[in-house]
């Protein structure tokens, strides 16, 4: 794309673009910067001596780092009992994201490139899970996975074999599969949007130049869909990082505690709200890394397209 579009008439007034950006800027200030400052004010704030609820301290000069130090010193080392939960979170989220991608990419590819006339119906079916809340879908799994639930009945062929699996007994597998199931629709839609945008002419050119279907995919479609893959992975990873009720509902066992569970129980425990704030900030710092990656990839994508 050329740098400047040719324009007719007089140039836009100087205030126009800042004015148009104002709602977005205000949105960021109100819903991102202010809440993060509140989280910091609680993290470095004090505690009400009677009810043990947090009292935010607004002036950074008066901030007290005790709560942060408490959490920090327990991330690793001899006292590091938070460490395993953080590693576990990374492992669960990583595995679930890979599984999501393995499921979502072929589906999105099919919907975007092959489905043709069935595309409308397929898209409606893909969006359908959004009509039901995430929590309701997880609760449905609780029923299906119970010891005498449908899943075990299928596995044992209606009680023919004695291989009943205790799915809800605190298994990492169940939590990872739960996360995968819960977030896969969030992965499919951005992938579909990305794959659908790839111009058919590019792919036709690949085929014309002698590549077979797989080679075309590997050398044309895949490189061009990479920004969409990164977007989709980030869109699913970030909410998964803070998820706690998948583990709560499908396991309820400390052995599958994720960082979301640590935050949730710290918020509900008198005197520990500051620790929850510490985890929130740590999580934010960790999630900035994939955000940076996203910005880089999309910028590169723009560059290759021009």
């Amino acid at each position: 794309m050329p740098d400047r579009l040719p324009r007719g008439g007089s140039p836009a007034p100087r205030w126009l673009w800042p004015a148009l950006a104002a709602p977005g800027t205000a949105w960021l200030l109100v819903f991102l910067v202010a809440p993060m400052y509140l989280v910091a004010a609680i993290l470095f704030g004090t505690i009400d001596p009677i009810l043990r609820r947090p009292i935010p301290v607004w002036n950074p000069a008066d901030w007290d780092p005790t709560q942060f130090q408490y959490v920090w010193s327990r991330l690793s080392g001899a006292d590091g009992f938070f460490g395993p939960a953080l590693l576990r979170t990374a492992l669960y989220v990583g595995t679930a994201s890979v599984l999501c991608l393995l499921i979502a990419y072929p589906v999105a590819y099919y919907a975007a490139r092959i489905a043709d006339r069935r595309r409308g119906m397929l898209l409606a079916a893909l969006i359908a899970p959004f009509w039901i809340s995430y929590m309701m879908r997880m609760l449905a799994w609780v029923n299906l996975l119970q010891n005498d639930g449908l899943v075990n009945q299928l596995i044992t062929l209606g009680g023919l074999f004695d291989t009943e699996i205790d799915w809800l007994g605190g298994r990492a597998t169940t939590v990872v599969l739960g996360l995968t199931y819960g977030y896969v629709p969030y992965m499919i839609l951005p992938l579909y949007a990305g794959l659908d945008r790839i111009p058919a002419s590019m792919i036709e050119a690949g085929r014309d130049l002698g590549a077979n279907r797989f080679q075309t995919w590997r050398r044309v479609t895949w490189p061009m869909s990479r920004p969409a893959v990164v977007t989709a992975v980030i869109l699913t990873c970030l909410p998964m990082l803070g998820d706690y009720f998948t583990s709560d509902l499908l396991s309820g066992n400390p052995r599958t505690s994720m960082v979301g569970n640590l935050i949730n129980s710290a918020v509900l425990t008198p005197g520990q709200t500051g620790q929850a704030a510490a985890f929130v900030l740590l999580l934010l710092l960790v999630s900035i890394v994939p955000m940076g990656l996203y910005i880089r990839v999309t910028r590169d994508g723009e560059a290759t397209r021009t």
Binding site: D48, P49, L51, D64, N147, N253
Partner: protein
């Protein structure tokens, strides 16, 4: 809004501090000042207790604040008003609520919470306008000191005469100025005979079953730090379940980590559903929940597979929940009528039928709950006897720095390291 928002907590705290100094019930001005000044609020930091701790050996008469008055006598609930009740889920019979609405021409709105700490946080944040709250007795001190509850006008509560005498002048609220009793319960061990081959009750120490992978898999303990950790001490034969000793707390930590390694328990409060559904085979359990569990058994499942153990001598956790009227509610008159309604013999029996939690009513003969059809024979052990409130152990409030040590251990256990 009667209560200011969370961001006004600092200002609110100053008035509280003034009150506490003037009231003289606290020897903690230094702790308060340091906590308010931003000095030492970290976990485990020395912080003197801000609220007096009531116990059977230290009965407390809570102060009445001039700015939180009780209502006048002889008033009637406003017809068409909406009474807001804040309670655990499934802990109040819908039919009882409906009958109250019909008899007094008011609407009742029920909101629920998962644990009382979470509930107090929401009440204190203000603006929710709940009228009635169902706390445990160790929370009265905090609620009174923070001016979140109002004193009861006993003229409206004639039905108090029908409850066990222990609760008409209880140590946790001398003169029952702020609270009336709601239910009683014990905390023991529940199990299913089709999943557990051992008779847990006949073990030398039935609590051991929770630590023994050969007795059962699918084990759970109650998701409440004090209830779960107190059980660890009771297993050791230590009846000081509010211990301030660092050695005791360290021992609890060791035993909890052993528990996690041995039987990998779930930590939940939904035993009344999970045990009958077969998700659990053995769990720490409240007596009311095991009674309730009978109604959650799948169709065709015989109810006699459920069992419950509590020490026969009553030396275990014996507790009662309360009803209190919140200062931030708009319908204190209707709230008084509702409390009196639930203290009524017949109403509380109907409520017992729904919740499974035994009300402390004189009309109930605790030795005849099975014969009178309130409990099945196999759950006779879920009966709560009045004398156990003298022999049993009680979960009490703790000094903040001690509570913090307990909470740190619980946090470590729940992080699943």
């Amino acid at each position: 809004m009667k209560q200011p928002g969370a961001w006004r907590a600092v200002e609110r705290d100053i008035s509280r501090r003034t009150f506490l100094k003037a009231g003289g019930g606290v020897a903690a001005a230094a702790g308060l000042l340091s906590a308010c000044g931003g000095g030492t609020a970290g976990p485990g930091s020395p912080n003197a207790s801000a609220v007096q701790i009531a116990s059977p050996t230290n009965p407390v008469r809570w102060p009445i604040h001039d700015d939180v008055p009780m209502i006048a006598s002889g008033l009637k609930p406003e017809a068409g008003s909406t009474l807001k009740i804040y309670n655990y889920a499934d802990y109040l019979s819908p039919r009882v609520i409906k009958n109250f609405e019909r008899d007094y021409s008011v609407n009742v709105e029920l909101a629920t919470f998962n644990d009382t700490e979470e509930a107090i946080g929401k009440i204190a944040s203000g603006g929710l306008g709940y009228d009635i709250y169902f706390p445990s007795y160790d929370q009265i001190g905090k609620l009174v000191a923070a001016k979140l509850v109002q004193p009861l006008n006993q003229d409206y509560l004639a039905n108090i005469s029908s409850v066990w005498p222990q609760f008409t002048d209880p140590w946790y609220d001398l003169g029952w100025q702020y609270s009336v009793p709601y239910t009683t319960y014990t905390t023991g061990v529940g199990w299913r005979t089709d999943q557990v081959n051992t008779d847990v009750a006949s073990l030398p120490n039935p609590y051991d079953a929770l630590w023994d992978p050969s007795v059962a898999d699918k084990i759970a303990i109650i998701d409440d730090w004090h209830v779960a950790m107190a059980m660890v001490l009771l297993r050791e034969g230590n009846y000081d379940i509010n211990s301030e000793s660092s050695e005791d707390i360290a021992l609890i930590r060791t035993r909890l980590l052993e528990l996690a390694a041995a039987t990998d328990p779930k930590v939940t409060i939904t035993m009344y559903n999970d045990l009958p559904a077969g998700q659990l085979g053995l769990c720490q359990m409240w007596s009311g929940d095991v009674v309730n569990a009978v109604y959650y058994l799948p169709k065709g499942q015989r109810p006699d597979i459920l069992r419950y153990w509590f020490p026969e001598d009553g030396r275990g956790m014996v507790d009662n929940d309360l009803m209190m009227i919140l200062a931030g509610g708009q319908n204190p008159v209707a709230a008084h009528y509702f409390l009196n309604y639930l203290l009524d013999e017949q109403v509380s029996l109907a409520n017992f039928g729904f919740t499974g939690y035994q009300p402390p009513q004189n009309v109930i003969n605790p030795t005849r709950l099975v014969e009178d059809g309130y409990l099945p024979e196999n759950l006779r052990t879920a009966t709560v006897l009045p004398e156990w409130f003298d022999s049993g152990t009680r979960l009490l409030g703790m000094p903040i720095e001690v509570e913090q040590q307990w909470l740190n251990v619980w946090q470590e256990f729940k992080a699943g390291a």
